[in-house]
């Protein structure tokens, strides 16, 4: 089969072998365990807590209500007592509002939850169910799914694209999900197709997961869903690059996928949508890969939102050697965490533990203009020039060099021989440009 791809990018060693053959295990939750459920686990306005200290909550019960359209409710991941509603250490390393639940060990479901047959629902009813279940993009960006499913009237959507690429090294959560629960994903895709009213749905999968490609192709046969095999190339899973690889369309600069008739959803999101609509289960669990050189036993886990990262690592045999860095998500775009006390969120696609020796400590050298970053950049901008201008405070120049088109995939920084943290300069430039635009 001919493999599709995009222009630019590179191919880092994927290190997936550590966990790709490991079946998903449920990360246990014991009586008395604390779950720290952050109130802002999605892009958009944070939810507002609707429980208070001392309340007893059941699994799946809403504990925080959305504020505004781009926002989703938050649910209790297990049954137990709310022991506090206070700022806790969050994903970003700062204290953010959270609801802390002490598990009672019973894991009792909220009896008000019920599923429905999607065929009997209207598109709007399905979207409401998706929002009420708190579903957000499971690839890590955590953008509320119901918003993505509500394009403005004038945007004609004709493609639904499913992201099963998982181009980040180490991560195998989506891979395992596709292997173990294809029906759930396909059920979700059918629902999403109905909501969007599109004919065409394509699942993009990188060629380093031949078993998943084969299985999904078989499972999708005759159900109006195609499987597109993609070349192993980072960042194949970035929205714009994925759309280009599968359809040949380019999302206009500064635009959204819907501007070229596409909606992209992660396969994990599709599975969550299926759960939410057919069975009424809100988004309180997800699959995450725990891996890295400093983990004893890399695994794929089904985790509860709010479990501290430390618990997940403990279940994987704990950390070994000297721990240098904790990464939430993949190594290319993931965020480093301050400690293992940080709770898992809806966006936690993986937890990577790097040993001290793996931490990149080389100092930044002068740019030698090798052009590696230019060739690797999938957005076709000049990272080094922008970084240089940013360093000199020439934000206007950086803007002229299309700094805003950076997708922050990290390819430039990965390949830079001078070890310049280009992506940080680009973020700095983007921040300054946004601030400047707001001012004017």
């Amino acid at each position: 089969m001919e493999l599709k791809t995009f222009k630019g990018g590179l191919h880092p060693p994927d290190n997936k072998a550590w966990s790709e053959k490991k079946a998903i295990e449920v990360c246990p939750l014991a009586e008395g365990d604390e779950l720290v459920i952050l109130l802002s686990q999605h892009i958009g306005a944070p939810a507002e807590a609707c429980v208070k200290k001392g309340d007893f909550v059941k699994k799946g019960q809403v504990i925080a209500t959305p504020k505004g359209f781009v926002s989703v409710p938050i649910h209790a991941s297990t049954s137990g007592e709310v022991i506090s509603v206070e700022p806790r250490l969050g994903t970003a390393g700062t204290k953010v509002p959270a609801v802390v639940i002490k598990a009672d060990g019973q894991d009792t479901w909220d009896e008000n939850l019920s599923g429905a047959d999607p065929d009997t629902l209207t598109a709007q009813e399905i979207k409401d169910r998706i929002r009420d279940a708190g579903i957000v993009g499971m690839g890590g960006a955590t953008f509320p799914t119901h918003v993505k499913l509500s394009p403005p009237e004038d945007k004609k959507i004709d493609h639904l694209i499913l992201n099963g690429v998982e181009c980040e090294p180490y991560l195998t959560a989506d891979h395992r999900l596709m292997l173990e629960d294809p029906d759930n994903i396909i059920g979700g895709i059918l629902i999403l197709k109905k909501v969007l009213g599109v004919e065409k749905a394509i699942i993009g999968i990188e060629a380093n997961k031949p078993d998943a490609i084969e299985l999904m192709t078989k499972a999708c046969a005759g159900r109006g869903i195609e499987v597109g095999a993609l070349k192993v190339q980072y960042p194949q899973g970035a929205e714009k690059q994925l759309i280009y690889a599968l359809t040949g369309r380019e999302v206009p600069s500064g635009g959204l996928p819907m501007d070229c008739g596409c909606v992209v959803q992660n396969v994990g999101t599709a599975a969550a949508v299926n759960d939410a609509v057919r069975r009424g289960i809100p988004l309180i669990e997800r699959i995450a890969t725990v891996s890295g050189s400093a983990v004893n036993e890399p695994k794929n886990l089904r985790i509860k939102i709010g479990q501290p990262l430390g618990k997940l690592v403990e279940f994987c045999g704990g950390a070994k050697g000297e721990l240098g860095k904790i990464i939430q998500g993949g190594p290319m775009m993931g965020m480093a965490a301050v400690s293992l006390d940080v709770p898992a969120t809806r966006g936690t696609s993986g937890v990577l533990l790097f040993s001290e020796g793996q931490v990149l400590k080389e100092p930044e050298g002068p740019c030698v203009r090798c052009g590696n970053c230019v060739r690797a950049c999938p957005a076709f901008i000049l990272p080094t020039e922008i970084a240089f201008k940013t360093k000199k405070g020439m934000i206007d120049e950086a803007e002229k060099l299309n700094a805003m088109d950076c997708i922050e995939c990290g390819s430039c920084t990965y390949i830079c021989p001078a070890r310049i943290p280009l992506i940080q300069y680009l973020r700095q430039a983007k921040g300054a440009i946004i601030a400047k635009r707001r001012k004017v």
Binding site: P12, R249, G365, A379, T413, I415
Partner: protein, 325 residues
């Protein structure tokens, strides 16, 4: 857990390359030609020139950085690389002081006054060579015959230039020898003795992804095409393209000097333009200019156009293409 962890921006992994590693790769790629060069010209003299060039470069870089209170960067190998390239551009029988002076000029005027590695607009080794050529034209054009080590001022390129200048034609006896440029036997720069070693080194660099194919291919390609046109028009006056490719510093220039990271464009399209410019200017200077050899000048000229080329060839950002479908 009490240990303070590291936090840095993503990505948390790296391809593993460093500037120093790449410089070392360039030096490795040059080793075969260096060995051949030293061997062909009688081991001792060329070794001294080579050593002094390298010492001149590294010492002046270290001294400059010491005086300015900057970290000493001779460990990254870029000064050594400049020294090697400079030596390969000099007559193997150059006086010792010239080798040292060239090294100092290359590093100080060519690189350090601009702020060191990464900021120099011109190729330092070529600055060193050109400064020497203009200051000491006699010594810089006194070549040695390979193997016999006979002193001569003649190179194939200058023979052709003088002959054409006098009679308007390439004399038959020179023409007869032109076919053998591939196998050496002429005095002059490096291209003569080790064309194939240079190609091998260049291929190694492309394989190691230190350089890309763009500049060598467009440099050699454009030089070949242009000289072939002239040759086809009048083969009694203009030498053959093969002769052009394997004489003088063309191969060295195409693979090692015009591909210098710092002083050449960063965009692939810009690299093609850069290489083509180098090739065309080289042939024009060789055929019509006052100097028999134009590689160094053409690369320096294109170096000065690099910022403009970069600006004009800025890639079109993703998402600017008109909609299909």
């Amino acid at each position: 857990m009490d240990k303070t962890l590291y936090i840095s921006s993503s990505p948390h992994v790296h391809e593993g390359g460093t500037t120093a590693k790449a410089m070392r790769d360039v030096i490795y790629a040059l080793l075969p030609c260096v060995a051949l060069w030293i061997y062909s010209f009688g081991i001792i003299k060329p070794s001294v020139v080579m050593a002094l060039c390298i010492i001149g470069c590294m010492a002046s870089e270290a001294a400059w950085e010491k005086v300015r209170g900057l970290p000493i960067t001779i460990g990254d190998g870029s000064a050594a690389m400049t020294g090697i390239l400079l030596a390969l551009n000099m007559p193997p029988n150059s006086p010792w002081w010239m080798a040292l002076l060239g090294g100092v000029a290359a590093i100080v005027i060519g690189k350090q006054v601009f702020g060191g590695l990464g900021y120099n607009p011109f190729n330092p080794a070529l600055i060193g060579r050109t400064v020497l050529l203009i200051s000491f034209p006699v010594q810089m054009t006194t070549w040695m015959m390979p193997r016999t080590h006979e002193i001569t001022s003649a190179t194939p390129l200058s023979d052709v230039k003088i002959a054409v200048g006098l009679t308007g034609n390439i004399p038959d006896e020179i023409k007869a020898q032109l076919g053998s440029v591939l196998f050496g036997g002429f005095g002059g720069q490096l291209g003569v003795v080790s064309g194939f070693a240079l190609i091998a080194g260049g291929c190694y660099l492309i394989y190691r992804k230190v350089i890309t194919w763009h500049i060598p291919v467009s440099f050699i390609g454009s030089a070949f095409v242009l000289s072939a046109i002239f040759w086809a028009v009048n083969s009694s006056k203009y030498p053959s393209p093969v002769f052009h490719l394997f004489t003088g510093g063309l191969m060295l220039g195409a693979f090692f000097m015009a591909t210098d990271w710092v002083t050449t464009p960063i965009t692939p399209k810009g690299m093609l333009i850069f290489g083509a410019g180098c090739g065309i200017l080289t042939i024009l200077i060789r055929l019509f200019g006052g100097y028999p050899e134009g590689v160094a000048f053409s690369i320096l000229l294109m170096n000065s156009a690099t910022p403009i080329i970069d600006r004009l060839t800025m890639p079109k950002k993703f998402g600017l293409v008109t909609q299909k479908g």
